[in-house]
């Protein structure tokens, strides 16, 4: 009873802290500035570029912000927070994501199920993660765009034990809600060099996802599921990021660096490892309504700190490790994905812009602290409405 109270209070405290920090970010954004943050600080640069524009008979535009009316005005659908919005503009989005993992890997080498079962009683054989993500963006002013994402996550994992018995566990529910502010840093455009835009992200992930999912396993009914099956981190996490996007004629490109940094430890006593994400993409507009993209996505994530004291990790008198997914030091890894995408812009209807975007890809490099399931493919489809 006491432990429950403490957990409940910790959870509430985490959420309050997250809301408070976000509130401060948003409040500052709403009150202090109107325009890109670096506007007026780069006079020398602007002067040089302005002279170049004049010499070429062109115009230099500073702060030419978001324009929705290109199919590639948004990055590939798997990239979040890739663009900002103009003041008063709303965007609502729905994304569906499916990620499939199969076969185990240790480092960069594949490991067979039998090899895993030499050290563990159970091995995961494949995992499917699906996510329905509802998002909203709003241009609060000429500096700040607010962003919120509400995910619904469904996970299922197939296992095999030493006796050859296969079983499956499932977990589903609301994931971690993410709130962020995107801050316009600077933007400029000149016909001969294209448009270049920079923005910063400050954000928070709130611990709304279940970190105590349970399902029936051969170990017992209603067993606590291991780390990869959890729907959230259980902590308030910082979500910093920096994005650069560019456009010239029918070509557009972007680069984004983002992180997920947990603050403190969750109710179960552990902390998810930090995650870093680098995206680099290029897109070509084939017509006013369609563009295709290619994206490299580098991810690095670290092992869990401390551990969930309620999660059994060994079994029997010999303390045989149960399953790799319950080991905190077998969670880290790095991966490079290559993804291809299509963005379609529909004709506007009553002033609404509709984007339908699809993206799919697979890893071309994976180095895992294994044995750990390796990713096989990921697929995204999303609908975005701007009004």
């Amino acid at each position: 009873m006491d432990t429950g109270n403490v957990e409940w209070k910790t959870g509430i405290r985490n959420i309050c802290f997250g809301v408070l920090v976000c509130g401060v970010f948003l409040g500052v954004g709403a009150k202090t500035v109107e325009g890109a943050l670096l506007e007026g600080l780069l006079d020398g640069f602007e002067e040089t570029l302005g002279e170049s524009a004049e010499a070429k008979g062109e115009r230099l535009i500073i702060g030419n912000f978001y324009q929705a009316e290109r199919p590639d005005s948004h990055g590939p659908i798997g990239v979040m927070g890739d663009h900002t919005h103009n003041k008063g503009e709303f965007m609502f989005s729905y994304r569906y994501m499916r990620m499939f993992m199969d076969k185990n890997r240790d480092g960069t080498d594949n490991v067979s199920d039998n090899e895993v079962l030499q050290d563990f009683v159970v091995t995961p054989t494949e995992m499917t993660t699906q996510m329905h993500m509802f998002g909203a963006m709003y241009g609060l002013n000429d500096t700040v765009t607010l962003m919120a994402m509400f995910p619904y996550v469904m996970k299922s994992m197939e296992h095999k034990n030493r006796a050859g018995v296969k079983f499956k566990t499932n977990a589903s529910g609301i994931g971690d809600i993410k709130l962020a502010s995107l801050w316009r840093l600077y933007a400029f455009e000149m016909p001969s060099i294209g448009a270049h835009r920079f923005h910063l992200q400050t954000g928070m992930s709130l611990p709304s996802g279940d970190i105590k999912p349970r399902d029936n396993t051969p170990l017992g009914n209603n067993s606590l599921l291991p780390y990869p099956m959890r729907l959230g981190s259980g902590t308030v996490d910082m979500l910093p990021g920096l994005t650069y996007t560019g456009v010239k004629h029918d070509v557009s490109w972007g680069f984004q660096a983002k992180g997920r940094i947990p603050l403190g430890y969750n109710q179960q006593g552990y902390q998810e490892g930090k995650r870093y994400d680098l995206n680099s993409w290029g897109a070509y507009r084939w017509a006013d309504w369609i563009s295709t993209s290619a994206r490299f996505n580098w991810k690095q994530w670290f092992n869990i700190k401390r551990e969930d004291g309620q999660l059994p990790t060994t079994i029997g008198p010999a303390n045989t490790p149960i399953v790799p997914t319950a080991e905190t030091d077998l969670r880290g890894g790095k991966r490079l994905d290559l993804l291809g995408g299509i963005n379609i812009l529909f004709p506007d209807f009553k002033g609404l812009e509709n984007h339908l975007n699809v993206e799919a890809g697979a890893p071309i490099y994976q180095d895992l602290d294994g044995p750990q399931l390796k990713q096989s493919y990921s697929f995204w489809v999303g609908w975005q409405i701007i009004l």
Binding site: G35, E39, E46, G50, A53, E54, E58, R59, L60, I61, I62, G63, N64, F65, Y66, Q67, E69, N86, K87, G88, E89, D142, A187, D288, D348, K350, G351
Partner: protein
């Protein structure tokens, strides 16, 4: 002692702020025996040809083809040049006036008049209004969209002799039959006096506004003529501006009741 210092600092700052704003504010008052300046603005050479656009987006509203006459010269006279008498701090009230854009499209710039310029931009037929106009800093501009399609209003402060450096002021959607109030703040303008209007959706929608502080301005008609009347006596700078041709200045001394002729000549 410390409190006294704070009070003193506060008063000094307040005085500076008040003083600064008073220095820049135009005051409407009686003008006795005011002077008049009239003249013509000419253009020598071949003006640039109108820019033609094939309309891809919303041709049912905007027309299949559009052209934009950026330098409008008729028989050697420049239409749409903004002539402003700089340096007047007190004088006549703003006049109610309206200027309509060239067809197709019936957008217009309307000035309510009185103690302020009171600009209203009526967007109609994918046309904000005439290619050139005037605007006042820190005063709300009422933008209306009478079209059944959305326009994305993009305003810029322009720098450089011919506005070759543009800095975004606003970038806003104006939905069908909607209105919005926007202000060109003096903070954004800094020392520039040129504002560009554009629509992100329709690249033939382009207009230029010169920032005025008082009603002593005129826009040249089809014969390049302008008249500025009821001018208080004093020494001023008379400016003629066109967004593509630049700025010309002349010093003028206005005496009570005096009628003065002043011409400007732009060239290629």
């Amino acid at each position: 002692m410390e409190n006294k210092f704070r009070w003193l600092s506060g008063i000094v700052v307040l005085t500076i702020i008040t003083g600064t704003s008073m220095t820049h504010a135009y005051e409407v008052g009686e003008v006795r025996d005011g002077g008049t300046i009239s003249g013509q603005v000419t253009f020598l050479g071949s003006p640039p040809e109108a820019v033609h656009f094939n309309v891809d987006k919303n041709p049912e509203i905007c027309g299949q083809e559009r052209s934009l006459m950026k330098v409008d010269v008729r028989n050697g006279f420049l239409t749409g040049a903004v002539v402003v008498l700089e340096g007047v701090e007190k004088g006549k009230p703003f006049l109610p006036q309206a200027w309509t854009g060239t067809a197709p499209g019936e957008g217009d710039f309307q000035h309510r008049g009185g103690n302020s310029l009171g600009l209203r931009v009526n967007t109609k037929g994918c046309n904000f209004g005439p290619f050139t106009g005037v605007v006042a800093a820190d005063q709300p501009i009422q933008f209306g969209n009478q079209d059944s399609i959305k326009h994305i209003l993009h305003t810029f402060v322009a720098k450089g002799r011919r506005g070759s450096v543009l800095r975004t002021i606003h970038n806003r959607d104006i939905h069908p039959d909607h209105e919005m109030h926007l202000t060109v703040s003096s903070g954004k303008l800094q020392d520039s006096r040129m504002v560009r209007l554009a629509c992100n959706r329709h690249d033939f929608m382009e207009n230029w506004l010169y920032v005025v502080k008082h009603p002593y301005f005129a826009i040249t008609d089809e014969e390049g003529q302008f008249v500025i009347d009821n001018i208080p006596q004093g020494h001023y700078t008379l400016r003629a501006w066109h967004p593509l041709l630049g700025l010309q200045e002349q010093e003028v001394q206005v005496a009570p009741g005096m009628a003065m002729g002043k011409n400007f000549g732009f060239s290629e």
